[in-house]
Symmetry: none
Subunit: 279 residues, 2 copies
DNA sequence: CCGATGCCGGAATATTCATTCCATCAACCC
DNA sequence: GGGTTGATGGAATGAATATTCCGGCATCGG
C-alpha cells in the first residue's frame, strides 16, 4: 500500500472530486499534481479524450494517468473518466440544481447576493439586446473601414475607457497599429492632430457624453478621418458624418451600467479588422 | 458508389447534422433510419458510448453504425461520434474549432456574423459560469475586507487592465480611495511599497499570468496587506495567503477570452464595498 | 417467377486503447 | 555516503474497439 492510501471510496460526482483534487494537490507528487492541474482546468478534455491524447496534452505519460486515478482510489483511468463524463451527461438536472442553489443564495437575502444577481442579469440582458440591434452589415462596413486605415485612433473616457484600452491591447497583439487616446497624459489634442483621412478612429461614449470625447470625435471627423462610433442613442451627438455607428444599450443595475455588450462588440470589431487585413 | 452518395462534406456541428438526419430519415434504409431515430433521441449516449454499446441500445449491429456514418459522408463511426461530443464540449473553451469549422462550412455567410455570434455567446456563457462558481459568502468577505481598507490598490496588466481601470473609475465616483497600478508609468513598485496592512489590494490575472502582477501581488501580500484575487484556477500562483480569491472562468472564442464575467464581478465588488462603507 | 440490386447480420481483422511491469532516477533517512 | 523508499518514463501486454468483408436475404422490376 503505497499510493492509494485513502481508505474512503473515491468520489462519484465531479465537484467532490474537483475539491479533492484541489485540496490534495499540495501533497501530490510532481507529475500527479500536474495531472490534477490539467484535469481541473480542462475537465471536458478529460471526459472525451483517450488516455494517450490527454497524457500528451498534460505532458505526462499515459501510465501516470492510471496512477493518478489509483491514487484517488479509482480502479483505473476509465473509472475516473466516468466521473468526468457524468458531469456532462446530466446537464439538465445540473441546470435545475444550479438554479435552485442560486435561488437559495438570493433567498439568503444578503445585499451582496442581490447585487451579484443584478449585475449578472444586467450583463446577460445587455448582450441579448446587442444581438437584436446590431446588424452584420454594419460590422462588415466598420471592419472594412478600419482595415483600410493606416492608424486607428481609440477615443474613450471614463466608463468607456476600459473598452478602448482593451482594444488597444488586442490590436497590439494582432499587429494592428493603433493609438490610445484619453489616458491621463494631456497631449491628446496634439496626438489627434496627426490623423489624416487615410486613418480611422473609434469613439465610444454614452450619456452623459464626456465633452472631451465629443470634441475629439468632431475634430477628427471634420478633418476627414472616418469614424466608427459606439453610443447609446440614434440622437447621440457622436453620430459621425463620415463613418459607421452602433447603437449599444447597456442594461443597468442601481445606476451602474454593464459593459458586456460594448466589450463583445469591441472584440468582434477588433478581430474582424485583423481578419480583413489578413484576407 | 452505393451508399455514400452525397458528394458534399459531412456537417461538423451537431445541429446541422441533426437537421440532416431528420430530413434524410424518410429516404434511408430501415436499419439506418433506426439509427437516425436513436441518435436524434439519445445524442448523449451516442457521444459517450462505444459502437458496441450504442448498437445494442439501438438494436442494430455495430457495422450498421459504421455504414450509417459513411452514408452521411463521414470516414467512420468515430468521425461521426466526434460531432456528438463537440456538442457537449460546449461549456468553456475549445469550441473555437467548432465555430471555425462552421465558418468554413457556411462560407456563403459573412465571417463577421460568426465572429459576432461567437463573442456574444462567449459573454453569456462566461456570466453563466460565474453564477455557478461564485458564492455570496465570498463576496461578503471580500467586500468587508475592502471596506476596512484605507486605500485600495488595483493590480492588473494586459487583458485585466480594463477591469482594474473600470474599478478605478467606479471607486472614484463612489468616493472610495483607490490607486491604479499597472499603467505605463513605471513607478509601480514604489507606489506599492506604501501599502500597509491597513490597506487592501485587488489583483486580477489569468493564464498566462503577467509576471509583474504576480510579483506585485506577492510583494504586497507578504507585507501583510490583504488581497482580493480574481483568477482562473484554484492552482493559480496568485492565490493569496491573506485574503479572498474568486475563480472566474471566461469562455473564449478564437483565443480571445471574454471579459464579461470579470466585469460583472468587479462591479459587484465595487458597489458592495461602497455599500459596506455607508452602512 | 426470376434475376438484379441493395441491405443486413455476423464473423474476421487490424487498430487502438488502458493497463501492467520493470528499470532507472531522485529524495530522504540512518 | 550507502541503502531504502517512492516516483517516473517507457516498453510490453492483453483486452476492447472500430472497421472490413462476405454470404445470405429481402425487395423490386421485368
Amino acid at each position: 500500500m503505497t499510493l492509494d492510501d485513502n481508505d474512503a471510496l473515491p468520489p462519484r460526482d465531479f465537484w467532490s472530486l474537483r475539491n479533492l483534487m484541489v485540496s490534495r494537490k499540495e501533497t501530490l507528487p510532481k507529475r500527479l499534481a500536474q495531472v490534477a492541474i490539467y484535469a481541473v482546468a480542462n475537465p471536458d478534455d478529460v471526459a472525451f479524450g483517450t488516455a494517450a491524447s490527454i497524457a500528451e496534452k498534460a505532458e505526462v505519460q499515459p501510465s501516470t494517468l492510471v496512477r493518478f486515478a489509483q491514487a484517488f482510489g479509482y480502479q483505473g483511468f476509465s473509472d475516473l473518466q466516468a466521473v468526468f463524463q457524468d458531469r456532462l451527461r446530466d446537464r439538465t438536472s445540473n441546470y435545475s440544481e444550479r438554479l435552485s442553489s442560486l435561488r437559495s443564495h438570493v433567498a439568503g437575502d444578503s445585499k451582496s447576493a442581490t447585487l451579484f444577481a443584478g449585475f449578472c442579469k444586467a450583463a446577460e440582458r445587455s448582450v441579448g439586446s446587442l444581438r437584436e440591434r446590431v446588424h452584420v452589415e454594419q460590422i462588415d462596413e466598420a471592419a472594412a473601414l478600419l482595415a483600410r486605415a493606416e492608424t486607428i485612433y481609440l477615443i474613450g473616457q471614463r466608463r468607456s475607457f476600459p473598452v478602448t484600452s482593451y482594444m488597444s491591447y488586442a490590436f497590439g497583439k494582432l499587429g494592428v497599429k493603433s493609438v490610445l487616446v484619453g489616458s491621463a497624459q494631456g497631449n491628446d489634442p496634439e496626438t489627434l492632430s496627426f490623423a489624416t483621412p487615410r486613418d480611422a478612429a473609434i469613439a465610444i461614449s454614452f450619456t452623459p457624453y464626456a465633452s472631451a470625447t465629443l470634441n475629439y470625435a468632431r475634430q477628427i471627423n471634420e478633418g476627414g478621418t472616418p469614424l466608427v462610433v459606439i453610443t447609446d442613442s440614434p440622437f447621440s451627438p457622436l453620430i459621425p458624418k463620415i463613418g459607421v455607428w452602433f447603437e449599444v444599450v447597456e442594461a443597468d443595475y442601481e445606476g451602474f451600467r454593464s459593459l458586456s455588450a460594448s466589450m463583445a462588440l469591441a472584440m468582434t470589431l477588433t478581430v474582424a479588422v485583423a481578419e480583413a487585413r489578413r484576407g
